[in-house]
């Protein structure tokens, strides 16, 4: 066995195999890039949505929440919170009110800090979460609870 399968053969499989799959990976990246504008409604990716993403990041929302399932698992999923909390008619009222009311102060309950966001930032964050909720995520999450 050790005479037929040499170290050199193993090394060649390593180099050849890795190179091949890197190339396939790059091809799939190209394909993915081509589909992203339509799947993510890039035409609705406004300046406000971009600012809202920046609010989300600079306050480290991912440190407690998940967004499309990624982040932390201490607080609810926010990828579909737009649908869960009012949708087209209600979310833009819900979110600023919710954010301004934190922390709840309920003893023993997980608390969200007060981030002292401006009305502009709250509006931008709302836009960001609405845009996120409309991304084609292959039908994820399974239900409204996220």
């Amino acid at each position: 066995m050790s005479e037929t399968f040499t170290k050199g053969m193993a090394r060649n499989i390593y180099y050849g195999g890795s190179l091949f799959f890197i190339l396939v990976f790059l091809a799939l990246a190209y394909h993915t890039e081509k589909t992203i504008p339509e799947r993510t409604n890039a035409d609705q990716l406004t300046e406000a949505v971009v600012r809202g993403k920046h609010v989300y990041e600079s306050n480290n929302c991912s440190g407690c929440h998940s967004l499309l399932g990624e982040g932390a698992y201490f607080a609810p999923e926010l990828g579909n919170v737009f649908h869960r909390r009012g949708g087209e008619d209600g979310f833009k009222f819900f979110l600023p009110a919710w954010m301004k009311a934190q922390p709840t102060g309920v003893p023993g309950r997980r608390q969200m800090p007060q981030f002292n966001l401006t009305d502009q930032q709250l509006s931008d964050l709302t836009e960001f979460l609405e845009w996120t909720a409309k991304i084609n995520t292959n039908n994820w999450p399974p239900n409204i609870e996220g």
């Binding site: 799939l28 799947r39 949505v49 440190g63 994820w140």
Partner: protein, 477 residues
């Protein structure tokens, strides 16, 4: 016994501060882990002084940085020996140690004492916004500092390998380390489109821990096995190439298991599921590798603890990364488990098994030599080290089992039912309290194991004259 008979090149000793600091950061990581474990149960514990997200970024960043210190220490120790020449610049290695250590401490202090949005503002996040993403919370200057340290490190070890003997061990290690540094550059790319952001974020995270970091782990494991078993290098290096071939052949397209539900196209549901099913293979082969080489050993090395770490890391990596990874990797399963406690269960055992344990393995092998104690610590010290090994490992198994239980109940209550019948996130969490208590107790067990492990270093200074392991004749490998 002069330490010069214990390791071949004087410059290998620059590894020592890297190993020591790595273990200090490890302690910090676990303390913050325990804080979060309690916050899962008492939701407002330490609020608002230390909100959960701050404790979390300290915990995860300390993990990543202590492992990086460990990898660098490992490289500084083994590369001169493998290349058969002194390190290119020991002074640069020590300088970079201090740069990295100080930058790391300042970053952690920044997280703890400055509100995150203010930290972002102060550190130029408006010039280039790279903050606020999981594991990449570091301010821009820290990220730049990491690149500088990485480049200096690669230059140092790279020159050493280039001018010296190129073995499979040091070539695979260099490839892994270069890959680590290059992939980190994606941390500076933060697209406005959330889907694109996530797509390239995984180029850092997945291609690190399920890609180039596996090269680093496998090459360190191969090095330790060469040293402690005396098995022919040709045999060990052949296994090494098989392992890393499997790692990259499965892991590159395996990245797709992160692309199921983030807005990427549906082809990834198939590619990701199929290739990530293969991802346990390199870890399975590592188990066969470690056990077989030790079984076929040609010498009785006095460092039994190092041998345990070698076998243990392969097994725990296979279980945590391989088996637990497989449990939730198929798209139809992941559809229900994505972003919940099963993920946390897998993540903890995978990181501990693959990366924490390989760093402790190389430390176990190298530290007695670096400290001038001998080829191995005394038997009493090794016993204490093994207490640490077993307590940490068994505690981690329990942490993982309890989080898996939590995850299964969570999926049952929150994800499986239709909208309207499904329980809310917060209500579900209340139902999982028993699991979180048990997890926390296991976490305390882990800390006790870590304390035993650290005490073993102190113990090895208190050796009895008759308790010394038998010194080896000069090594020939």
């Amino acid at each position: 016994m002069s330490s010069q008979t214990l390791f071949k090149f004087e410059s290998q000793k620059v590894a020592k501060p890297y190993f020591v600091f790595a273990l200090m950061l490890f302690v910090g990581q676990i303390l913050f882990g325990l804080i979060m474990g309690l916050q899962y149960i008492i939701g407002d514990f330490l609020f608002p002084l230390l909100p959960f997200n701050v404790a979390r970024m300290v915990h995860t960043n300390l993990l990543i940085v202590w492992l990086l210190f460990g990898f660098m220490g490992a490289a500084y120790y083994l590369i001169p020996e493998e290349a058969d020449r002194e390190l290119h610049s020991p002074k640069l290695a020590i300088l970079m140690f201090w740069v990295f250590a100080i930058a790391g401490v300042l970053t952690i202090l920044g997280y703890l004492f400055v509100p995150y949005a203010k930290l972002a503002e102060m550190t130029g996040n408006n010039i280039l916004a790279t903050m606020g993403r999981e594991f990449l919370e570091q301010p821009l200057p820290t990220k730049v500092g990491i690149v500088v340290v990485a480049l200096a490190f690669l230059y140092n070890v790279g020159m050493t390998v280039l001018k010296g003997r190129k073995t499979a061990v040091n070539v695979v290690l260099m490839t892994g380390l270069i890959g680590l540094a290059l992939l980190f550059l994606f941390a500076f790319y933060n697209p406005e489109n959330l889907t694109r952001d996530k797509y390239y974020w995984w180029y850092v995270v997945h291609l690190w821990v399920e890609g180039v970091w596996e090269l680093i782990m496998a090459s360190i494991l191969a090095y330790v096995l060469i040293k402690i078993t005396g098995v022919d290098r040709e045999v060990i290096e052949k296994w090494l190439y098989v392992i890393v071939a499997l790692a990259l052949i499965s892991g590159i397209l395996g990245t797709g298991h992160h692309y199921f539900f983030i807005g990427a196209p549906a082809v990834w549901l198939w590619v990701g599921s199929i290739f990530s099913t293969l991802e346990p293979l390199p870890f399975f082969v590592m188990v066969l590798f470690a056990f077989n080489m030790i079984n076929r050993r040609r010498r009785e090395h006095p460092n039994k603890a190092a041998a345990m770490w070698a076998m243990g890391t392969a097994v725990m990596a296979f279980l945590g990364a391989g088996v637990w990874g497989f449990l939730h990797t198929l798209a139809p399963v992941n559809y229900y488990t994505h972003g919940a406690q099963i993920t946390a269960a897998h993540g903890h055992m995978a990181f501990y098994g693959a990366y924490a344990m390989i760093v402790m393995c190389i430390i176990s092998y190298a530290m007695p030599k670096l400290r001038g104690i001998g080829e191995a610590p005394s038997n009493k010290a090794q016993v204490l080290e093994l207490w640490g090994f077993w307590l940490m490992t068994v505690s981690m198994v329990f942490i993982t089992l309890f989080l898996t239980g939590a995850g299964v109940v969570e999926v049952w209550l929150r994800r499986l039912p239709e909208s309207g019948a499904a329980m809310s996130f917060m209500d579900t969490q209340d139902q999982l309290m028993l699991f979180y208590w048990l997890r926390l107790v296991s976490g305390v067990g882990f800390l006790i194991g870590l304390i035993c492990y650290l005490c073993s270093f102190k113990k090895s200074l208190q050796t009895a004259a008759d308790d010394r392991p038998v010194p080896l004749p000069a090594e020939t490998a």
